[in-house]
Amino acid sequence: MLMNLRAAYGEALLALAGENKNVVALDADLCGSTQSVVVEKNYPERYFEMGIGEQNMISVAAGLALTGKIPFAHSFSVFATGRPFDQIRQSVCLPNLNVKIVGSSCGLSDFGDGATHQSFEDLATMRVLPHMTVLCPADGIEVKWAVRAAAAIDGPVYIRLNRNDLPVLFDEKTSFEIGKPLVVKEGNDVALVCTGTMTSIALDAAALLEQQGISARVVHLGTIKPLCGKSLREALGNVRGIVSCEEHTIYGGLGSAVAEALCEAPLPMKMVGIQDRYGQSAVCYEELLECYGLTKEAVAKAAEALLKK
């Protein structure tokens, strides 16, 4: 079954806004795409159209947070995190304000628009900021959880969202927790540690590996930060190596976070991710995933190579 992550986000935001009058939404001329339009439609007085001005939007959100509101500020992930980086750092994270930044159309998912609209650096840039929590859900169910979890945190949160339909991996009973790695498939030889879109691709890769007699464990990290080394190590079981899988540059994202968390007692590791490149236009998403090596075949190959070493 597939679920659209944007639609799931809109549903969750609407429910949250219905329950909590302090929730407000801001957007920079992309509310139809990010789905913050649900707040504008249902609670127009709590929606603020900021025009195409992301820097101002983030500092305005800081002001709203300083007066007791819970602002959700939206744009495409590249513009939500890149354009206003200094505002996020200075206005929001340094004073530890209760601002939620929602970056939509992350990674390669805006396939047609090309490099300027594709965001592979946002996990890295958001992760380096003290106080920031970084969430990267893998399916629609987790998106809904992430919205509630973000609201429950009194501090800045970045939620990274894909724009497409993705397989449903979880259900209402899944016990999500901030910072908790989820073992979505058991296995003993190698761990595929993954986030976002790459979690369903890693599951497919694990099935490929099984056919070759390799037992692959799939560990999903829906929280990129905070990441606790101890719980990650527990989630890894007895595997001999790790392949990190992310729709993001290999510099500074999930793979780096995992390596940092395990650096005192490291395991052999390979990183599947974007290799220090910018994006480009294509006629469909799958074509780009292939071009950038984000496929189940690429993940399986990395795991095999790792175990052969």
Binding site: G32, G53, S281
Partner: protein
């Protein structure tokens, strides 16, 4: 304005519009509206006003064109193809994997001077080019096309004050005032008020025209070139989607697809303009 020139430029604008339709393709989302609204301006610049040469692309004193609202690059691609920077058929490959014609402008494309697509940065790049032109004593002009929604970006106004402070009379901003941004009408979504008044207040010499009246467009480009001691801005009233009736003035066609039938209808309407 010479009537023959006006007619010739209208034909070039038609070629640009047809090129936009080619670049957009069938059943592929693309930025039709904003490309069509600036088609007349882009045609007048490339085929009448700007000094440029596809055979000598890097000549030092060429005029510079920057599509600050990078999503409207389909208009620029169409003009570049028509001018001979690359074959017309290349337009059909727009936004396909590995194409030299990406979703937003990139310098790898022959004739494209700057990368844009993150709105609000093009005028600043233009300020840099204009400063360099003055430094090198080259008499080229830098032309920057901006969107009216784009004007919400604070950086635009940083560039506006910079250009005035440096008295950059070799720089012209052209605002494509089509009244629509991504989500809806600028007056409903985020009303910036009197745009011309703002440029005036910052010390720019301003001109207001109908951006689809070719005689007015050509005249304004000439007039802007004559301004001394200050940067110039042309505020061009336009219709988003101009030339394709079902897309005209319709926010949904900011970024949308055409079916095969719609594509054919669009071509017919452009031929009849």
């Amino acid at each position: 304005m010479n009537q023959e020139t006006v007619s010739a430029m209208k034909e070039k604008a038609r070629a640009v519009r047809l090129g936009i339709i080619d670049a957009l393709g069938v059943d592929k989302r693309g930025h039709l509206g904003g490309s069509m609204s600036c088609a007349d301006i882009v045609a007048a610049l490339y085929f009448h006003k700007m000094r440029h040469d596809p055979k000598n692309r890097f000549m030092a004193d060429r005029d510079r064109f920057i599509m600050s609202k990078g999503h409207s690059v389909l208009a620029q691609y169409a003009a570049l193809a028509e001018a001979g920077y690359f074959p017309r058929e290349t337009l059909l490959k727009t936004k396909t994997l590995g194409s030299i014609l990406q979703g937003h402008p990139e310098r790898e494309t022959p004739g494209v001077e700057a990368n844009t697509g993150s709105l609000g940065q093009g005028l600043s790049i233009g300020v840099g080019m204009a400063l360099a032109g003055r430094l090198d004593k080259l008499n080229y002009r830098t032309w920057v096309v901006l969107g009216d929604g784009e004007l919400a970006e604070g950086q635009v106004w940083e560039a506006v004050t910079a250009a005035a402070a440096f008295k950059l009379d070799n720089l012209t901003a052209i605002v494509d005032m089509n009244g629509i941004q991504a989500v809806g009408r600028t007056c409903d979504r985020y009303n910036l008020g009197n745009i011309r008044g703002k440029f005036d207040a910052f010390g720019w010499k301003t001109f207001e025209i109908d951006g689809h009246d070719m005689a007015q467009v050509l005249q304004a480009l000439d007039d802007a070139s004559e301004v001394r001691g200050a940067p110039s801005a042309i505020i061009a009233g336009t219709v988003k989607g101009k030339g394709v009736s079902f897309a005209e003035n319709t926010p949904a066609y900011h970024n949308n697809l055409l079916t095969k039938e719609q594509q054919e209808a669009a071509r017919r309407e452009i031929m009849a303009m």
